[in-house]
């Protein structure tokens, strides 16, 4: 058994921490896996949470793909000022992750990390999903059931590709490009990364 208060805290934290809306099943199988909880009970908890946030700046809503917190719509016009006009840029890490997903899909985060040799930040995965270029298409049946990522139709549309198969043809190294890459590899080795700063994606 789990105390009501603790249960509510867990569900609340899980919805806030999720990268995308969460379903009842995800909650029951994930954060609540250790407790015997039925769906009506969980719904009740979510209803209570909805109620708790009734007067706050954010609200708990149920959308097509599950539950999520979002800012109260009346606040929209005021929140607009949060994002000053600046053209952000994506990091090399984000591009490499995207390229790997396109090439090796359906692929887990661990598999991406194995190839790149560095851990993939959650922010990158979140950005790619927010842009609608990448989505979870399932879970691998291995311990931990890691998510399987794949590219989407929106990804192909954005880059005007018919299929992912069009990519490698483009990626054939042109002679002058090969040189560029070599020198890039050299500077990598001497850790001259000052110019190649990793901003947040």
């Amino acid at each position: 058994m789990i105390a009501d208060k603790q249960l509510k805290q867990l569900v609340e934290a899980a919805v806030f921490a999720a990268e995308a809306p969460v379903t009842l099943d995800q909650l029951l199988g994930g954060v609540l896996a250790d407790y015997r909880l039925n769906r009506p009970r969980l719904r009740q908890v979510l209803d209570e949470l909805k109620d708790d946030y009734r007067e706050r700046g954010i609200e708990l809503v149920e959308v097509a793909s599950g539950y999520r917190f979002q800012t109260r719509s009346e606040l929209g016009p005021a929140l607009v000022n949060m994002w000053p006009d600046r053209a952000p840029r994506y990091s090399a890490a984000l591009f490499e992750t995207l390229a790997l997903i396109a090439w090796r899909q359906p692929v887990t985060r661990g598999e991406i990390e194995a190839v790149r040799g560095v851990s993939v930040s959650t922010q990158i995965m979140k950005t790619l999903q927010e842009r609608g270029w990448v989505k979870v298409v399932g879970h691998k049946e291995v311990p931990g059931r890691p998510a399987l990522y794949a590219t989407t139709k929106a990804f192909l549309d954005y880059f005007s590709l018919q299929s992912v198969a069009d990519l490698p043809a483009l990626a054939q190294p042109r002679p002058e490009l090969e040189l560029d890459l070599e020198s890039a590899a050299d500077t990598n080795d001497t850790r001259e990364r000052g110019t190649n700063k990793e901003e947040n994606p």
Binding site: A17, Q70, W103, P106, V115, V137, E141, A150, L167, L181
Partner: protein
Amino acid sequence: MVTEQQSLPLGFVRGEPVFEQPEDLYIPPEALELMLDLFSGPMDLLLYLIRKQKMDILDLPILRITEQYMVYVDMMREMKLELAADYLLMAAMLAEIKSRMLLPKIASDEDEEEDPRAELVRRLKEYEIVRSGAHELDMQPQQERDYFIAHADTDARDLAGHAPPEVSLEELSLALLKVMQLVDVQAHHQVKREALSTRERMSRILEKLQTNTRIEFSQLFETNEGRSGVVVSFLAILELNKEGLIALTQAESYSVIYVVSKSTAGATEHRAEG
């Protein structure tokens, strides 16, 4: 604080008496590889040995520590494990200190000769502090281990008309080229266009199986794609099956074949079975 237990030596290794044959030195070969990962370097290994043998770091029994260190290094070399040169460098340093310790002291009027161990002891102490620093860091709350960032979605950004970064196809192609080279170092993978279509089709099939955990085999083919499309779908199904992401089921011979998801999040009934 030297807690050396004097007892009969168990034997002699390279002329040095071995008092206790430390059982932790007998390590199954498969564990050795693990051990290399366990130690972050030769300093770490040295400190471990010092701890294990309850040696006094300030009055380091250089003969014993050198012996023990060499036992490890020799084992690793015998197993032909890829041993960082740093381990051998440390071995050389230990051997050098050992030989200097063995040299008879030459009486001299000059200032007292520095203990040959001093530099090593200094480095060990310094490293020990850094290692405890690493431990302190690990004890700090860490994102996605101890806490997660709490986010709320917002529609305000759309109101702001804040466009996400523009990305060129060239940038993506370059990134792909880079990861292809990365993989090329690891294994010689021939990236074929057909293979890529298959990977992509695999994703689409998994996607379909998310809404419908059981789909009739034939429904995964779109005839309007022509021959090559059918082949791609077929290869994708075989590959998914091979990677254990789907299962093919059939009640009896010649009956309808179903493709069943083994991987979708929504497949709760399936989870319940397993």
